[in-house]
Symmetry: C2
Subunit: 357 residues, 2 copies
């Protein structure tokens, strides 16, 4: 015993174990376990509960989540997979998810999945190996193999920001079609008729849905939706490339609605290079309203998405799913909002406007 005392003394670091607390309180460790668990404390005599709690407090006891998890099969861990943490759009989503999880006693295991599907699968396997109780995927593609893997493994999963066409899991997304409609309607109301679109990658729901939204809204306005250029990724550079292509092919455009703020910034770059003014020569609408985008020059008119809310809802849906794994998938569509800033204005009537009928 003395030896034991000494050892514990030496390694002050080692946290007290349940057994030790139980010994200190003079009860069996099972009793201590129950006394320390609010859900089961009623099974134990009031005085004993207090004695155990006092001992635990005094010894600085902390339940070992690992050990407990082994037995209960509850790790209190949630995996979160994002394509790129450095992408500002995900910052508020992640932040909100983490907050909700923490409020519910969970911790977030966050992983970057910049690489391809194989890397994503590896990451998910890692998460599963850590026995996460659920996974939030912000990386979903059409027929996502990663989601398939989660489903196979029986790990509850929810999708956020990007969706699949067929809902195999609960999902929280923005109304991408509606958002694009807001953008187009705004431009049409300003008097634009020649409106182009810089679309996101086809395999991402945001890319294809927003493009659909563009085409629908244009059709409803009786306008031609032919001026579309597809960016290869949601980056400034890809946006610039797509913008150059679009402007080359359709020099008569007076406005462009883009699928993403970064693409809009790429367009800004290209405009600057061509010495075209925004909104003087071309009006631009972005999508997402990412942080700081209100400070660019000119301040970008864009579609605001409540990313924080999306993250929060995704986390809540996941937690619900964990307690009721067999409920039907829920699709939550968040309404976006148009935020008018300085990048849109009525079209400038060019001198060479005789070619307009």
């Amino acid at each position: 015993m003395t030896t034991n005392e000494l050892t514990r003394q030496e390694l002050t670091r080692q946290p007290a174990t349940l057994q030790e607390v139980a010994d200190a309180a003079g009860v069996h460790r099972s009793t201590a376990s129950r006394a320390l668990n609010p859900e089961k404390a009623h099974l134990i005599g009031q005085d004993v509960v207090e004695r155990v709690q006092a001992a635990a407090l005094q010894m600085g006891y902390r339940r070992d989540v690992l050990a407990a998890g082994l037995r209960t099969r509850r790790s209190r861990l949630i995996g979160v997979v994002v394509p790129d943490m450095a992408n500002l759009v995900f910052a508020p989503i992640l932040s909100a998810i983490e907050t909700v999880l923490a409020e519910n006693g969970y911790s977030a295991l966050i992983a970057n999945a910049g690489g391809g599907v194989d890397q994503q699968i590896r990451i998910v396997e890692q998460l599963i190996a850590h026995r996460v109780e659920g996974i939030v995927l912000a990386t979903a593609q059409q027929d996502d193999p990663v989601l398939t893997r989660c489903l196979e493994a029986g790990v509850p999963a929810v999708l956020v920001n990007r969706a699949e066409t067929i809902a195999r899991a609960s999902t929280v997304i923005s109304d991408d079609i509606g958002g694009m409609r807001l953008a187009v309607e705004h431009l049409v109301a300003l008097g634009h008729r020649k409106i182009g679109h810089i679309a996101g990658p086809r395999h991402l729901s945001t890319g294809s849905l927003r493009r659909q939204g563009f085409e629908q809204a244009m059709a409803e306005a009786g306008l031609d939706a032919g001026a579309v250029s597809v960016a290869s990724a949601y980056t400034r550079d890809a946006g610039r490339v797509a913008a150059a292509d679009l402007l080359d092919r359709h020099p008569d455009l007076t406005a462009v609605a883009t699928a993403n703020d970064l693409l809009a910034l790429g367009l800004y770059l290209e405009l600057r290079a061509r010495r075209l003014a925004c909104p003087g020569d071309l009006s631009v609408v972005g999508h997402n309203d990412m942080p700081l985008i209100d400070m660019v020059d000119p301040p970008l008119t864009t579609i605001h998405i409540h990313h924080g809310d999306m993250g929060r809802q995704a986390a809540e849906l996941l937690l619900k799913r964990i307690v009721a794994p067999d409920a039907a998938p829920v699709i939550r569509v968040m309404a976006p909002e148009l935020v008018v800033r300085g990048s849109t204005a009525p079209p400038f009537r060019r001198v060479v406007s005789k070619d307009e009928i």
Copy 2:
């Protein structure tokens, strides 16, 4: 046995256990364990190793990190505590940390610690309960109680971005004094003499060090460093408040060096409200070079910090510390760089310049 088979059949989801793999390969589970561990596979006959690996592969076996960790006391988890994940400065740091950890077989348990010290302590306790093998703190204050707690608990910790005056743990920071010197020297070179400073909170190392840097550089240039206003937090709003105060008290300033890009943006707001032009009436230098800051109007001249590198180094230091816990703390100071954009210019000689000698 058949019952067991059936159960497993029903719940397809349950991953195979080591025991089952061992049974399938016709060996003891300890043998299977060794065969599956590259470090110990040499102890086992070549043919057996192959048989076990084949069985494992075929049954989709994944080592249960929780169970293994219980025995080995290695959770393969690293805690990361940031003040605010939504703050763009931390995005690249987090991203880099996660990448390095993943490369080394670790996962990142990331937690937001927006609240006060008590919340931070709670979070650290949570992390410890999850038996993290190390912690990265991006929240350090002077005499940080959180760090104290980590040290007590014997959990290796490293500080990133913010430091303590006395180095109790390895730290990776930017050369805050040097960075500020770059800013001041740049302004002086442009011809500015009346230079102000918007400082960050005093209890953060970045706040006090950058202020020191400002004062030193001004002294070296033989200028008066009296025009300083302290912001209550690193936010745009706090920056604007401090800016208003500074401009009120020192209407003759021709340039301001701020301790942070967001503070600079706050200053932009205040300038706009006062109908003052930047850089026409006032030159502004930021600090950090956060994402997108090059797109604001005017593009902000700022001090670039290699946040990704900082994150990477912090993660590497932590991993080293885990294998050699008793090595002396290392302080890694990263060199920042001046990035000249559009917010700085030579001072405008005002008409009322007769009061200059």
